[in-house]
């Protein structure tokens, strides 16, 4: 489904919370359909708020947000829900309902499409468990189809969240620090999975990452956010050490991960598979 023009078009987007905190301070950004973008920056920089604006959970205080050419302000309730259904979100944690079986959490990706009656009936007898099954096969945990979600490990639950997005089949995937609570080996698997799925179905992918290595290793375009503003917006190979230091300056804990071995090798970057069709 190709749409002419940019998928996301943000102009001077600003978000001020009720207690006065300016979380997002005039961000302008354009993301084309099918692009893959990593968003990095220190904690508290406003990345999560930005994502909640992008997935239509929050309303901007000022500025404009356009998706596929449509302005998101002034939408009716139904239109808003239709737009949300086109955007799939993966959170860092706690976004699944623990007491439900995995099959229900995965099929919840359909809730934007299903009527209430169908949703209710599915809780009794899952409709389309085949689709849930296929999604779980893709993320590698098909045997957990009928397990209770809170019996799964953190990494497995994150894969269930991924399966839910697959079932939802959106045009845009937003991932807000999807691997920060997951151990490093699994992190690579999940990031690769998201990237490949997005690439194959030509979905737009924006991922909020804590780990600079993962960002540089997997994404062709890096956006650095600091203090609610865009610090830089560059192709991967244009991102230099000084830029990164400037981005994380003053945030000691985040800076630690910038420590590199003396010869400047990005070990992780070397190990990543490049995106098919893109030169290294």
């Amino acid at each position: 489904m190709t749409v002419p023009g940019p998928e996301y078009e943000l102009r001077e987007l600003k978000k001020v919370f009720a207690d006065g905190t300016v979380a997002v301070d005039g961000i302008s950004l354009t993301v084309g359909a099918g692009e893959q973008v990593a968003v990095i920056g220190p904690s508290g920089a406003g990345k999560t708020t930005l994502f909640r604006l992008l997935n239509l959970t929050l309303r901007p205080t000022s500025g404009s947000l356009g998706i596929a050419g449509l302005d998101m302000a002034g939408l009716s309730d139904q239109a808003l829900r239709r737009q949300r259904q086109r955007i799939g979100t993966i959170y860092q944690q706690h976004n699944l309902v623990g007491r439900l079986r995995v099959v229900h959490n995965v099929l919840a990706g359909n809730l934007g499409r299903w009527s209430t009656a169908r949703a209710l009936a599915s809780l009794w007898r899952p409709r389309d468990s085949a689709a849930a099954w296929r999604a779980l096969v893709q993320v590698g945990i098909p045997e957990k189809l009928y397990a209770r979600t809170d019996e799964l490990s953190g990494g497995q639950q994150q894969r269930v969240a991924l399966a839910r997005v697959l079932v939802q089949d959106p045009s845009i995937i937003l991932a807000d620090e999807p691997v920060s609570s997951v151990d490093p080996s699994l992190a690579m698997i999940i990031v690769t999975l998201l990237r490949d799925v997005a690439h194959e179905s030509r979905k737009t992918l924006l991922m909020n990452l804590h780990s600079v290595d993962l960002a540089l290793g997997y994404f062709p375009r890096i956006v650095g956010v600091r203090d609610g503003r865009i610090h830089f917006d560059l192709a991967r190979d244009q991102v230099t050490e000084e830029l990164l230091r400037g981005l994380y300056a003053g945030h000691r804990d985040d800076e630690l991960q910038l420590e590199r071995p003396p010869d400047g090798l990005n070990l992780l970057g070397r190990a990543c598979r490049p995106l098919p069709g893109l030169a290294e």
């Binding site: 468990s129 099954w133 296929r134 096969v137 893709q138 590698g140 098909p142 009928y146």
Partner: protein, 284 residues
């Protein structure tokens, strides 16, 4: 892209048990509906609606005359007093029995590790079992039945009401006290015992400080229930607003009934408020 590893699993094997249980429950429910003579139509046929209308018409506007309100102050005050003294009695009955009914105090747990078996049995378990039995009887017989019996035993008025609340709530307090005491963290107690503290020392320095906020909190909650109970016990002759409501209903003076209900609402609200504030300060 991995090929489908295994075949698509069937639904988790459903044993017959949940269905049997469900069928059994439905049968019990159907029987209950029949036994309880549930028939929603009765709400609308015959005099039902007319009676309801009579009640509403007669009840509003409520009797707010100074004369009536003045007469009702004494019963309202009496209701509060019954609830307070009743709860006090309940504590007096429930606390000793509750202490006896705590297994960790009576015969099991670290306090009794080195005690001879016969001592544990005779001095520990037997009183424990008796206390538990008494508490069970006290709290399983509804307070109104106790009130009825005490009215027969000692006459009308506030006294039987106090006794009824004391006994019935004493049973509830005792059971909950023992649960709270048993749920206390045993490690500080072990530490105290290892440092050479006597049994009394362990209770005073280890058990009570941990348990006290919950004990007081639950007692205050019982007071909230007691104010409701004492208001209603009057319906069986145990004084307070309940007795007045019974009288007014008997003479079909619905406007008085509504006023009394309003007063009851205020009393309950006041007690709930005070009790809630106290409990909040406790758990601060």
């Amino acid at each position: 892209m991995a090929e489908p590893v295994a075949h698509f699993p069937a639904s988790p094997s459903k044993s017959a048990f949940p269905y049997l249980l469900g069928a059994g429950f439905l049968a019990v429910l159907a029987g209950s509906l029949y036994t309880a003579q549930v028939d929603p139509r009765r709400l609308f046929e015959g005099d039902a609606l007319a009676n309801a209308a009579r009640f509403l018409r007669g009840g509003f506007p409520p009797d707010l005359s100074a004369e009536f309100l003045g007469q009702m102050i004494r019963p309202a005050v009496e209701t509060i007093q019954i609830s307070v003294v009743g709860t006090l009695f309940a504590v007096l009955i429930g606390l000793p029995l509750g202490l006896l009914a705590t297994s960790s105090l009576a015969w099991s747990g670290i306090l009794h590790e080195r005690r001879a078996a016969i001592g544990r049995w005779v001095l520990g378990f037997l009183p424990y079992a008796v206390a538990r039995g008494l508490l069970s009887v006290f709290r399983s017989v509804p307070e109104y039945v106790w009130a009825f019996m005490f009215v027969r035993a000692v006459g009308l008025g506030a006294f039987p009401g106090v006794l009824a609340i004391g006994v019935a709530y004493g049973g509830m307090l005792g059971k909950v006290y023992s649960e709270i005491l048993e749920g206390v963290n045993p490690r500080p107690l072990e530490t105290l015992q290892a440092a050479g503290a006597s049994k009394l020392g362990i209770v005073l320095y280890g058990l009570i400080p941990q348990a006290l906020p919950s004990l007081v909190s639950y007692t205050l909650y019982r007071w909230e229930c007691a104010i409701r109970a004492s208001a209603i016990l009057g319906l069986v002759g145990a004084g307070g607003l309940g007795q007045q409501i019974e009288l007014s209903m008997r003479f079909f003076k619905f406007d008085e009934v509504v006023t009394l209900l309003g007063m009851l609402l205020c009393l309950v609200g006041a007690v709930d408020f005070v009790s809630g504030r106290l409990r909040a300060r406790l758990t601060r």
